[in-house]
Symmetry: C2
Amino acid sequence: MARARPLTRSEQDYLKALFSLGGLEQSVTVSALATRLAVSAPSVTNMLSRLAASGLVRHAPRAGARLTASGAKQALLILRRHRILETFLVRVLGLDWSEVHEDAEVLEHAVSDRVLDALDRLIEHPREDPHGHPIPDPRGRLARRSLSPLAALPSGASGTVREIRDRDRGRMARWKQAGLVPGARVRMRAVQPIDDVFELDVNGHTMVTGSEGLDGVLVERSRERSHGRRA
Amino acid sequence: MARARPLTRSEQDYLKALFSLGGLEQSVTVSALATRLAVSAPSVTNMLSRLAASGLVRHAPRAGARLTASGAKQALLILRRHRILETFLVRVLGLDWSEVHEDAEVLEHAVSDRVLDALDRLIEHPREDPHGHPIPDPRGRLARRSLSPLAALPSGASGTVREIRDRDRGRMARWKQAGLVPGARVRMRAVQPIDDVFELDVNGHTMVTGSEGLDGVLVERSRERSHGRRA
DNA sequence: CTCCTGAGTTAGTCTAGGCTAATTAGCGTC
DNA sequence: GACGCTAATTAGCCTAGACTAACTCAGGAG
């Protein structure tokens, strides 16, 4: 429970991964963490017990790990730094939103609170980062939204892209080129589940694609003019 | 001589300290480095031999260490990052120039080349940082200037402040308040070496001070209207 | 009910980069 | 020329955080 010293870089990375894989409730397996962080399973077990000793995670042997309230708060504060940095990198430095992730990943551990606040002020306290992800507030609270994967949109339904979650830079760049960015209006023209082919309108243009990674695109369903087969 | 992997953070810090204490020519003692970096002497010996093995410093046992050409280049490139960051922190984020050093110290190791270039572009490729220090060019070349410590100015002589080198934040803040910043015009009204009292005009205002730390203020002597007792 | 399999843990090693304590090498003094 | 001071080096240890190899346990197949 005693956690006097500040979190090390690795500790922060584990907390972030834990949050991103399991959120606030779900528990995450050792192997999922190992894959995500590109480390071996023993490294994970080892770090988890240390984090458990500081009261940041709960770790039942052979049953995965889950963030405690205090761990979740830390994770959200790191996420906040990450997203503020990404927004800065894109909006002020003009870097490409499909490529800033790695930079933010490093800087989030290096930037002092003073500099972070100044950056946040400079970009005028945005609520969302360039991928459309909501930015936690300074106390670590995150706006909840109910979004669905683009691939789950029934044919005929339409919505607005809200988040891009993919980790594949190439794919993100392609999507960006196709106009599939946060804020874009999309309509599912046709779904052929057998062939795994999706035909959709993106801001007027038609796009045909397989489902590969399409669940990394989250949309907000539109209520109006719902002439699709909704339940 | 073999140096495949990128420099670690500590290695970079040692190179920077070596440059700042001994420049390109002079050799630096182990204890000076230990003091500057706030580590023990054995740690310094240890790191020096590693740097020597990578061909970045020359280290004769019990005779101090000196940068090699390649070490000097690395040091200057790090200095470049540091100074670009300080300039960004002051000019864009509006932080106080007497307080940005620590932040730059951390960020210089974290910022990618891509982000550094973008920052440099944003601040329009300055030649000097907010303390007046020249910024090395992208190939690690530093403009040479001939400046003298303010305390060495004979009475009657005047000049322009070019650099503030102090590491004491409080003192820097005081100087800043008194107008003793890069670009300020100063004239030495009177020097009383016995009492260690200096009386000077700074941008019109008169300032009386002891020599304490005054050699951290570097001025460029004016040639014109030299009615002081110059040699 | 036993056995196999695979996920997870334990044990032991490595590297970077610190540390303290003990030793050595010069250098100045007498 | 011996003495002692201080700077530097050596020796040995520590922590964070990784790794591999070897062991263990729980859950599904038979």
